[in-house]
């Protein structure tokens, strides 16, 4: 690292440390291949969009402890998104901020589940349940990725998303075992989010080609089902019967919902390019 990478400004202006992050990942100076970058972008976009969605809840949760919990989850996801998008950006010489703020909907590769509305508490918890169980399986599998950067990111994330899963499971048990209304509403939410589960476990050409580097999505399904079955059995819930939705997030095909999320996420840096504080 040379002095041009020195981001300390003793006059108090601290910028986001894109250049310091260059050496954050193991095997410093490693550049992702275009295929690994595309895979990292899928994972990073999932985390970025869900982080943005969860941050909406801060100050709106039913209790202060839940504000803290959801804020913590959003922060973890943002940390994962930063590391993954930074790594993805090494393939095209783009920074994490550039990727987060200056791509449009068709360039985002997140799954449809994370763009589903979650401003109803039950919807948000149902989305959290499916996604956090998936992420525990995902990052556990990536611990042994042949790509050392993905494995290093996974080693941190895997510990963190276990808290996310636990948080969602506790709420499912409480809501399903609570009042008649809470049970009815969480059942509806679990059913409404179910059509977006299949996309998480769908292999495609990219994941085929990245065998040993990517976690093969279909290989994560058995672990997901095992956890879901155990949670639903405990909560006395049947597996939803809703059919899989037509999706396509990994190829950049999105519902109209993503545009609204990106509008809020991106307006400030687009209105004031290069803004810092």
């Amino acid at each position: 690292m040379s002095s041009e990478h020195d981001l300390l400004d003793l006059h108090g202006e601290v910028s986001l440390d894109e250049t310091v992050l260059d050496v954050e990942l193991p095997g410093s100076g490693r550049v992702a291949t275009p295929e690994v970058a595309e895979y990292a972008m899928r994972l990073g976009d999932d985390s970025l969009i869900l982080s943005q969605q969860l941050a909406w809840w801060v100050s709106r949760s039913p209790e202060l402890e839940e504000d803290l919990a959801l804020g913590n989850l959003a922060l973890d996801l943002l940390g994962h998104a930063r590391a993954l998008l930074h790594f993805a950006g090494t393939a095209s010489n783009r920074s994490e901020d550039d990727l987060a703020f200056w791509r449009d909907e068709p360039e985002f590769l997140n799954c449809w589940l994370v763009e589903q509305p979650g401003t109803d508490f039950g919807d948000m918890i149902a989305r959290q349940l499916y996604f956090s169980i998936y992420q525990v399986q995902l990052y556990t599998a990536l611990l042994t990725s042949a790509d050392e950067s993905l494995a290093a990111i996974a080693a941190k994330a895997e510990r963190e998303v276990r808290y996310h899963q636990d948080h969602a499971v506790q709420w499912i048990l409480r809501l399903a075992g609570g009042t008649e209304e809470s049970r009815e509403r969480i059942l509806i939410a679990l059913n409404d989010m179910w059509p977006y589960v299949d996309e998480l476990f769908t292999d495609d050409d990219l994941t085929d080609r990245l065998d040993g580097i990517a976690a093969r999505p279909s290989s994560l399904r058995a672990g997901f089902d095992e956890t879901i079955n155990a949670v639903f059995a405990e909560a006395g819930i049947e597996i939803p019967t809703a059919k899989p939705a037509m999706t396509g997030g990994r190829q950049g095909r999105h519902s109209t919902l993503l545009g609204y999320i990106l509008a809020e996420l991106q307006w400030l840096p687009r209105r004031h390019p290069g803004a810092k504080w």
Binding site: M1, H80, A83, E148, K156, A157
Partner: protein, 165 residues
């Protein structure tokens, strides 16, 4: 770990004075965030590792380390991060755990490997004020990523618990 050569050990010791901005009872050495220190003439290089992936305190720690080294006379100061191996509370020093408790935060009650095995061990969390083990978890999430909220059933005081990670 603290380097054996004298020049690098000096850099380590300077970096080791920096406090965690969120938990100022602990130095970054106590916390296990300080990983490496190297010196070469007027050049100092320190490697830190973040605690949780999203923890914003790491940037403040980096700036504080850089300031301390510059003030100590190093012209070329580099502070970089590593993600691997992933940080764990097992790296927290015993001195750090005592300081945490004195500060009013219950330290991690077990090693990470013990709670991650096939049969997780759950240990009672000890109240940092009256030392009772009769405590209950209020929330798994607290004011920072690394802490949970507890309450002592004996003295009734609420307190922070530094989670095993």
């Amino acid at each position: 770990m603290r380097p054996s050569d004298e020049a690098s050990a000096r850099v380590w010791d300077l970096a080791a004075t920096i406090l965690d901005p969120e938990v100022p009872a602990l130095t970054i050495e106590d916390l296990g965030v300080l990983r490496e220190a190297h010196a070469n003439g007027n050049t100092a290089h320190v490697v830190l590792t973040p605690t949780y992936s999203g923890c914003p305190a790491i940037d403040q720690m980096r700036d504080d380390v850089a300031s301390a080294l510059r003030e100590a006379g190093y012209d070329d100061v580099q502070v970089s991060y590593t993600l691997s191996p992933a940080w764990t509370t097992d790296w927290m020093t015993d001195a750090g755990k005592r300081k945490l408790e004195d500060y009013g935060i219950a330290p991690p009650m077990a090693r990470s490997s013990e709670v991650r095995g096939p049969i997780p061990v759950t240990l009672g969390v000890k109240c940092p004020r009256c030392h009772s083990l009769h405590t209950r978890e209020i929330s798994k999430f607290g004011s920072t990523s690394c802490k949970a909220l507890y309450q002592c059933q004996k003295c009734q005081e609420p307190f922070d618990y530094f989670k095993i990670h």
